[in-house]
């Protein structure tokens, strides 16, 4: 079946504005309070949606698994947020941001969505400043910018190294103002364990109260999922340890399609892996690549101290291979290049899986003070973790780590999934980044979705339905609750010998080795076998102590892992199906002579959308063809 993205007609520049007038119905202001939306997730996407829907007068009930909405994973974003303000007078424009994003995504995103995102980017900055977000400024009092990978203009706004924190606090505070106004209710320590459909439309959720273990039912006129990405399917990522694909998977099981699950981004600059005790990998913001130079020794197995290795015996491989973007080449390219040199045996550090990010030139050119102003907090984090002082060493050791997932639930131009009444925002949807996301674009997308898109498109859905049709007494809620109850009992009953933690690592290693930075038909077939094996072991040898009727962190982990195991399979199928290399999806069979990704537009210029067909059964793929009216797909070159 071909999917319809419901992209409005007309020139790409006018689509959104025209659609708001011709295509979207409005809800009468007096009626808004009769409609209720459930928002699952209070990261940038969810909190901004809850705030702006509350401001419009809708009733909102927002949920998160943390105690407080301010603790969502978005809080950890460091580097910044893009916007086409052209404050630097360096040639930026909405069109350029649009083009960079489409090209960065290797021509695998929907043009109309990306253009709208670029258009809305400037209003986001205006709003955030009005909320009191302390963006870094220049001495003249105006907003400062920095550059990020994959672009040649400086369009990234930032608050020191804590941009995500400041943006999330802004959205959270706006939402709490609506809580105070009585239009938004926030319920923390709740995990969405099922989506409730009534006559095929999303009308509610089942939540497990993590504090008491009770299952609770909530009904509404529509459900918004903003539950984040799925990088934690890999063993060790830069994501918060609680991030998980569970909510999206519950929707998938209920018929929502999962798109492009194989597009996963591995971030090039993270503190390298050091041992099996580790619970996460820490990102070092990519902004470091503005002043750092990446290199490894020319010789294999060169164990000299880096300061003893003379200039001509160093390989600045990014500068060598991609002279025009150099150290600022896009993430997928930089990550793969690091893996390549390490696979060749030229990696550094204890494990041999690390490369140098060298600041010697920058320290000499700029001095310690300016370097500290720019990167002081990153140097501190590095020292805390590794015990090494960058001021003395002049360099860091870094290695790529799973970081962001471009795939997600399929949505149309309205951000509505194929299940009517189910809207998906932020990292949880697949919409704007194609096969690779540019730095500083996730925050932009989450906030565009929540502040500026969903308030219009959900109104259009509401305008076609009568409010308050469904309450939790309906049998559909009882059925879902029973099903969840049964699954919990099953998990509790296994009483085997392995903990959820151990099994999570097993799955995560399978995914990293076989569905990671580079993939082949063989590795993907191995993955499918191994996933089935780990799942089998999970359902036969898992150990969860305690009871499901009380606070039980082991059960929470087990529940999430059960979802990851089923998800991992869809991801491997998608990677196997896509017989081309594009963006972050690198199939070793499809590369050019000099090892670059080889795209196949004739056969694969589509969005995959997988339909659930039962556990252990192969999912069915639907396609949304990608049509390029504005830009013509070219071979990405950063040389």
């Amino acid at each position: 079946m071909e999917l319809d993205g419901k992209v409005p007609s007309g020139p790409v520049q006018d689509k959104w504005d025209k659609y708001k007038i011709d295509g979207l119905k409005l809800v009468n202001p007096a009626n808004k309070r009769k409609y209720k939306a459930i928002v699952v997730g209070t990261g940038l996407a969810g909190a901004s949606a809850a705030a702006s829907l509350g401001e419009l007068g809708y009733n909102v009930e927002a949920f998160c698994y943390q105690e407080s909405p301010r603790r969502a994973h978005s809080i950890g974003a460091q580097g910044g947020i893009n916007a086409a303000k052209n404050y630097q007078n360096d040639g930026d424009s909405i069109y350029r941001l649009f083009y960079d994003t489409i090209k960065g995504g290797d021509f695998r995103a929907r043009e109309a969505n990306v253009y709208r995102l670029a258009q809305l980017s400037t209003a986001i900055i205006d709003l955030c400043v009005a909320q009191g977000i302390p963006f870094t400024r220049e001495y003249g009092g105006l907003l400062a910018n920095r550059s990020f990978g994959g672009t040649q203009v400086s369009r990234t706004f930032y608050s020191r190294g804590q941009t995500g924190q400041q943006l999330l606090l802004g959205a959270y505070q706006a939402m709490m103002a609506q809580v105070q106004a009585g239009r938004v209710t926030v319920r923390g320590r709740r995990e969405m364990v099922d989506l409730v459909l009534v006559d095929g439309e999303a009308k509610g959720v089942i939540m497990r109260n993590l504090r008491t273990g009770e299952l609770e039912s909530y009904a509404a006129d529509a459900v918004i999922l903003a539950s984040g990405g799925y990088s934690t399917v890999f063993n060790l990522s830069t994501n918060a340890v609680g991030s998980n694909v569970g909510a999206a998977m519950r929707a998938y099981r209920k018929g929502a399609y999962f798109s492009n699950p194989c597009y996963t981004q591995i971030h090039p600059t993270c503190i390298p892996f050091s041992g099996s005790h580790q619970s996460k990998l820490t990102l070092m913001s990519e902004s470091l690549r503005n002043d750092g130079r990446v290199w490894v020794p020319r010789q294999k197995g060169d164990t000299r101290h880096p300061s003893q290795i003379p200039e001509q015996e160093r390989d600045y491989y990014l500068e060598r291979k991609y002279p025009s973007f150099g150290n600022l080449s896009p993430r997928d390219i930089s990550s793969r290049a690091a893996k390549e040199v390490c696979d060749e045996g030229r990696g550094v550090g204890d494990t041999g899986y690390a490369v140098y990010l060298d600041f010697e030139d920058a320290f000499n050119r700029l001095g310690s003070e300016i370097m500290d102003e720019r990167y002081g907090n990153l140097f501190e984090i590095y020292q805390q973790i590794t015990g090494e002082d960058v001021h003395e060493q002049m360099r860091m050791r870094i290695y790529p780590a799973p970081h962001y997932t471009m795939g997600g639930l399929w949505v149309d131009y309205n951000l509505q999934s194929n299940v009517p009444g189910l809207f998906v925002l932020g990292e949880a949807n697949f919409s704007d980044h194609g096969a690779n996301r540019l730095g500083a674009s996730a925050l932009m997308q989450g906030l565009a979705d929540g502040y500026f898109i969903i308030p219009y498109t959900i109104g259009n859905y509401f305008a076609r339905t009568n409010p308050g049709q469904v309450d939790t007494d309906r049998s559909e809620f009882a059925q879902c609750r029973e099903e969840v109850e049964r699954r919990n009992k099953e998990l509790m009953a296994i009483q085997g010998n392995k903990t959820a933690h151990e099994l999570r690592i097993e799955l995560g290693d399978v995914m990293l080795d076989n569905v990671g930075m580079s993939r082949s038909r063989e590795s993907l077939q191995t993955a499918l076998k191994e996933i089935a094996r780990v799942r089998d072991e999970f359902w036969n040898n898992l150990k969860v102590p305690g009871t499901d009727k009380a606070l039980n962190q082991e059960l929470e982990q087990a529940w999430r892992l059960a979802e990851s195991l089923d998800f991992a399979e869809v991801m491997a199928h998608d990677a196997l199906n896509r017989e081309e290399s594009c963006g972050c999806h690198f199939r070793v069979e499809y590369q050019t002579e000099d090892g670059e990704a080889l795209r196949n537009d004739r056969e694969y210029a589509y969005v995959s959308a997988w339909e659930f067909k039962g556990v252990g059964r192969e999912p069915v793929m639907h396609k949304e063809p990608l049509e390029f009216e504005e830009v013509s797909p070219s071979t990405r070159s950063y040389k």
């Binding site: 901004s48 994973h73 205006d126 009005a130 009191g132 001495y139 009092g141 709490m176 015990g387 308030p455």
Partner: protein, 249 residues
């Protein structure tokens, strides 16, 4: 490395609690204290015992979820680190380490080391924001902000809301947390119009929620993982007095 852990166990909010001892073996220097607890918990689960309940999420010092009292100090030593960032290389081989939850009337214990910090959300809800409706904002560069003011606002805005300041204060006061938010917004032109209302509402709510007063012990800044300065408490006091005058006029 090897350690003896004395950990506070408490089955529920109203249950009596007490210390229990555990051996942590095969601990690496690079491990965080939470990774050590993960390891201890794995063993407990395998032995069919109840694992120690504690919370964390980002594990890089920004979400504010973690927070344990280690050897009597919220977030432990050295200064300026969150619990999740605290590495075992800072402890002596063989040492006994005492681990307790944050304690304060307004932050009740849920189980073991997990506490309820929703009171902090209620403080923000009472006024810790700028009422700026989506869609009605002026162009971002319309109002220049002196770099110094913005930097100072950011110094305050860095608060991660972990609650260590409350746990460290002999009066269980939330003055540093509230002062940081009041100062962050008061320092920026965008936050000025509501400054008086904000400080009045937030300080009022602080009392209702059972947080104590500040009697200048300054334990709060000493344990703050982000080193939020106590000057923000004085700044809040000044804002409060300004608000009183405003009301009178």
């Amino acid at each position: 490395m090897e350690f003896l852990l004395r950990v506070w166990r408490q089955a529920g909010p109203d249950a009596p609690g007490g210390f229990e001892e555990y051996r942590a073996r095969d601990v690496k220097e690079d491990m965080s204290i939470l990774e050590m607890l993960d390891q201890v918990n794995q063993d407990l689960v395998k032995e069919g015992r109840d694992p120690i309940v504690f919370e964390s999420d980002c594990r890089e010092g920004i979400c504010g979820v973690c927070g344990l009292v280690i050897e009597g100090v919220p977030h432990g030593e050295p200064k300026k680190t969150t619990t999740c960032e605290l590495r075992m290389r800072h402890f002596r081989e063989g040492q006994t380490i005492t681990i307790e939850p944050f304690r304060a009337g307004a932050l009740p214990i849920i189980k073991d080391l997990m506490v309820d910090r929703t009171a902090l959300d209620q403080l923000i809800q009472s006024g810790g924001y700028v009422s700026s409706r989506t869609g009605s904002s002026p162009e971002a560069n319309t109002i220049p902000v002196a770099k110094q003011d913005q930097e100072e606002a950011m110094d305050a805005a860095e608060c991660i809301g972990c609650g260590a300041c409350v746990a460290a204060c002999p009066n269980a006061s939330a003055m540093l947390f509230t002062g940081a938010k009041v100062s962050h917004l008061a320092k920026l032109p965008q936050g000025r119009p509501e400054a008086a209302r904000r400080v009045t509402a937030m300080t009022g709510r602080m009392q209702e929620l059972g947080f104590g007063n500040c009697s200048n012990h300054y334990e709060c800044q000493a344990v703050c993982p982000k080193d939020i300065h106590v000057k923000f408490i004085s700044r809040m006091n000044r804002e409060f007095i300004k608000a009183l005058f405003k009301k009178k006029n």
